[in-house]
Subunit: 309 residues, 2 copies
């Protein structure tokens, strides 16, 4: 039996522009590195390798809470010690908490001999999201665990549909400003126009059809958001200009990653994704806002074991 493994747990883009709370996409970069050790007592310990102060109580930690739920379901004296090398900045809108939660359960499951299926892992990982944002959502943990693009048709009962991921490139920019998930939720109107909702679900249907049928033009046409982006984009400096410049540079489309402030764009090929990256850099250099950019293919694998002993 293995008693230690190292996991790469990647960033994810929730919402995918028009699919608020139901769609998510897995990136290749950035990704957290997590080391997980099996313990022979019912105990969860989580450390940060980067000196982040973590709550002592594992139930208050995004990696710890899912593991606590998991060991409570096991009829054995088993626990885990987790060391997190955080490469996905908390508060980036790129699924940082999901990467910790998903990576922890994927690694733990590996050490347990893969006794849980992906849907069960998602259910555990959602406890980490609850710690992070107060809401047990799955639009980051599902793509982080399945890879590719996932549809969360329903959260209760949980109904996850992995979609075949198209061969597209993603460009992500993380402007280093703070938008709290709670604030990003608070600006949303709780009542929306039926007229806009109809346009939105036309785009969601088009996006899902485009993804499954690998119709990149349809994907591009469908990446429009009438409900969330008009409100949330105001919280992100440079958003409108950046989006316009990226589309002019050849991006198929894109928008706010999760609740922001990161912005992602999809492109047909790496050369375009790099041009898009340059436009993003120009915008935030001009605005004098620190940023990080990442270009990568859609990650079809999700969180994965990179070493095990």
């Amino acid at each position: 039996m293995k008693n230690k493994c190292i996991i790469s747990s990647p960033a994810t883009v929730a919402n995918l522009v028009c699919g608020f709370d139901i769609l998510g996409l897995c990136l290749s970069e950035p990704a957290d590195k997590m080391e997980i050790k099996l313990l022979n007592e019912k105990k969860i310990i989580v450390h940060s390798a980067d000196g982040y102060p973590l709550p002592e109580d594992p139930a208050l930690n995004t990696a710890g809470a899912p593991l606590l739920e998991m060991i409570n379901d096991l009829n054995a004296s088993i626990g885990f010690e987790v060391l997190i090398h955080k490469n996905i900045k908390p508060g980036s809108g790129a699924g940082s908490s999901a990467a910790s939660a998903a990576g922890a359960v994927v690694g733990a499951n590996h050490l347990l001999g893969n006794i849980f299926d992906k849907k069960q892992l998602i259910q555990y990982a959602m406890f980490g999201e609850k710690v992070a944002s107060g809401v047990k959502h799955a639009d980051n943990v599902a793509p982080c665990i399945y890879g590719g693009v996932t549809l969360i048709r329903s959260i209760s009962p949980l109904d996850i549909i992995p979609l075949p991921a198209p061969d597209l490139y993603t460009t992500l920019v993380h402007p280093q400003i703070e938008i709290r998930t709670a604030d990003a939720r608070a600006v949303l109107r709780q009542q929306i126009d039926l007229k806009n909702a109809i346009k939105q679900w036309g785009n969601i249907a088009g996006l899902v059809a485009g993804i499954i049928q690998n119709d990149v033009e349809l994907i591009g046409r469908s990446l429009e958001d009438y409900i969330i982006e008009p409100v949330r984009s105001k919280l992100i400096p440079g958003f409108d200009e950046l989006k316009k410049k990226c589309l002019d540079a050849g991006a198929l489309g894109g928008g706010i990653s999760g609740s922001g402030p990161s912005i992602f764009m999809l492109s047909k090929d790496e050369a375009t994704a790099r041009k898009v990256e340059q436009e993003m850099k120009n915008i935030y250099l001009n605005l004098g806002i620190d940023f990080r950019t990442y270009v990568s293919k859609i990650n079809k694998e999700g969180a994965r074991i990179i070493d095990s002993q």
Copy 2:
């Protein structure tokens, strides 16, 4: 050159439960029969074979208005005479006006040597819908012309995506009560809860994924409507009981056809579709409301030429 043809133009189910204004499905039964003759003058004449009184001005007729638009775009002394055998009752919610409009343009295009593509035909046929309901919608004319299931991602600009139709059976019941499309629209709330909209677009995404991937269980799970059905179903006597009985009889799911009062159900096989039909019959026999029922496969072909000379 042919100068006369006969068309079978079928009924259609708009909305498909959760896809209000964006999805439509083509039935095999009932279908109108239409005879179309080429005239050598710029003139449209429409008759009813069943003695329905039709407006003398073809611009006020659902079959006439699309043809007027079509001949106005042609630089030639060409017109059409149309005789309609109406089998789809007006006001049934099963695309009666769309069948007239779509059948007329499909037949006329055939006599013209198929100079228009399907998207152009849909654009002409939408003029018929405007006559019928005041709104140029495409969720009946698109499936009537393409067959199968169609997604109307956007109406302006028009973006129609034909989806591969699953091999399912439909049962349609038309209780002979009157619901005017305008009334069915008037009961709708123009503001909806974001919470319900999210559930709705989860189902729309699930339905589209289920249809394309031929996952009938996913289709069934996704056929739920949080926005329109709770309001409109109150206009249809027996709706709730009928739906429950049909699901108990094995239907995958279903709901109001278009703006009602017809109700449709999807089933995996003909035997189930027949059982579902029997449940529908029982309900309306008990309620003492006249009705018609139709069992047919999803029609993958749409309006078609059955004779030409």
